[in-house]
């Protein structure tokens, strides 16, 4: 046997192989864990897709108006067009507000001044649920929570609406 071949002994060779293998296995386990740990960072911000609802910002007044639009939604087996709507207006602070019209009681569609007896309120025709203009549910009517609000952004003077958030979820965004 030549001198060169004895430079790596059987013992060191096995050592190297085992350390290498162990290293690979550890890495295989650790990398997915690491990914999970930093996952929130990897996610795209913004919270979903925005759709142009066909309403110019200049046309938004203090009087709530209903906008309807359609989105493609893939829902398990079905890919379907889903119709969405919102009540859009400017509030006292001149901020644009887009409420989801879905009643928090059992999900009927509420309308602005839907009942003559209750001006300046959103009204649900199903069980006479009522909400003030700021979306807060009127006490002693069936709904137990304020109306949900859409995420919004403005591009080229048009209003884009995104995901629906409950009042609780929307709060931190307002304060930020």
């Amino acid at each position: 046997m030549s001198e060169e071949k004895q430079q790596v002994s059987r013992r060191t060779f096995l050592n190297y192989t085992l350390t290498g293998l162990g290293g690979f296995m550890a890495a295989g386990m650790l990398v997915p864990m690491l990914r999970m740990a930093v996952d929130p960072v990897l996610q795209t911000s913004g919270g979903g897709d925005f759709t142009n609802v066909g309403l110019a910002v200049d046309d938004i007044t203090t009087e709530p108006q209903r906008v309807d639009w359609k989105i493609d939604q893939v829902d398990g087996w079905y890919e379907s067009e889903v119709s969405k709507s919102a009540w859009v207006f400017k509030n006292d602070k001149n901020e644009i507000v887009a409420f989801s019209p879905v009643c928090k009681h059992l999900g009927c569609v509420v309308s602005w001044e839907g009942n003559e007896d209750y001006p300046n309120e959103f009204f649900c025709p199903c069980h006479n649920g009522r909400y003030y203009k700021d979306g807060t549910n009127v006490p002693h009517t069936p709904p137990l929570a304020p109306l949900d609000e859409y995420d919004q952004k403005i591009e080229n003077g048009m209003l884009f609406l995104g995901k629906v958030r409950t009042r609780e979820e929307a709060k931190p965004r307002e304060e930020a």
Partner: protein
């Protein structure tokens, strides 16, 4: 509410709030080539109507599965079957039953049906996805929903 797992779970908990049934009457046939497209189209339109109405008033109405029948059928036997459906339905606390259809032949049998028949003059043809159709259906749905509300 629709007759599916998720909605029914909600229904069972909120039974006292859901007092109205919407029961679609949908004809089917494969004979009469000339009529086929029209019938299928009306069925599509009606199901869009129903989805929209259900969405507007979801908390108080229950949309049942479609009642299918042969277009050429003898209506008096169908009336009996429909009334049997209604009988089953009214064992639950349902107060208002609406039968919705595009088929005008039901109008003659309205008296013997144990529910309110809403016959809508059908749309013969057109593009379901066009903007005009969208606005048209929307306007109609609003009126039907007002009509249903007037019974509450």
């Amino acid at each position: 509410m629709k007759w599916n797992k998720e909605n029914l779970k909600q229904y069972v908990q909120a039974k006292e709030y859901v007092d109205t049934i919407v029961l679609p009457l949908m004809p089917f046939h494969l004979s009469q080539n000339a009529e086929l497209e029209k019938s299928a189209f009306q069925r599509e339109v009606l199901s869009i109507f129903l989805t929209e109405i259900e969405q507007e008033l979801t908390g108080r109405i229950m949309l049942t599965p479609d009642y299918n029948y042969l277009k050429s059928t003898d209506k008096t036997t169908e009336v009996e079957r429909i009334n049997a459906w209604i009988e089953e339905i009214t064992t639950q606390p349902f107060e208002h039953i609406f039968l919705i259809t595009f088929d005008s032949t039901w109008k003659k049998h309205e008296e013997s049906l144990n529910g309110h028949l809403l016959w809508l003059p059908g749309i013969q043809s057109g593009d379901l996805h066009s903007k005009e159709m969208h606005t048209f259906i929307h306007g109609q749905v609003e009126q039907i929903s007002e009509l249903i509300q007037s019974y509450w």
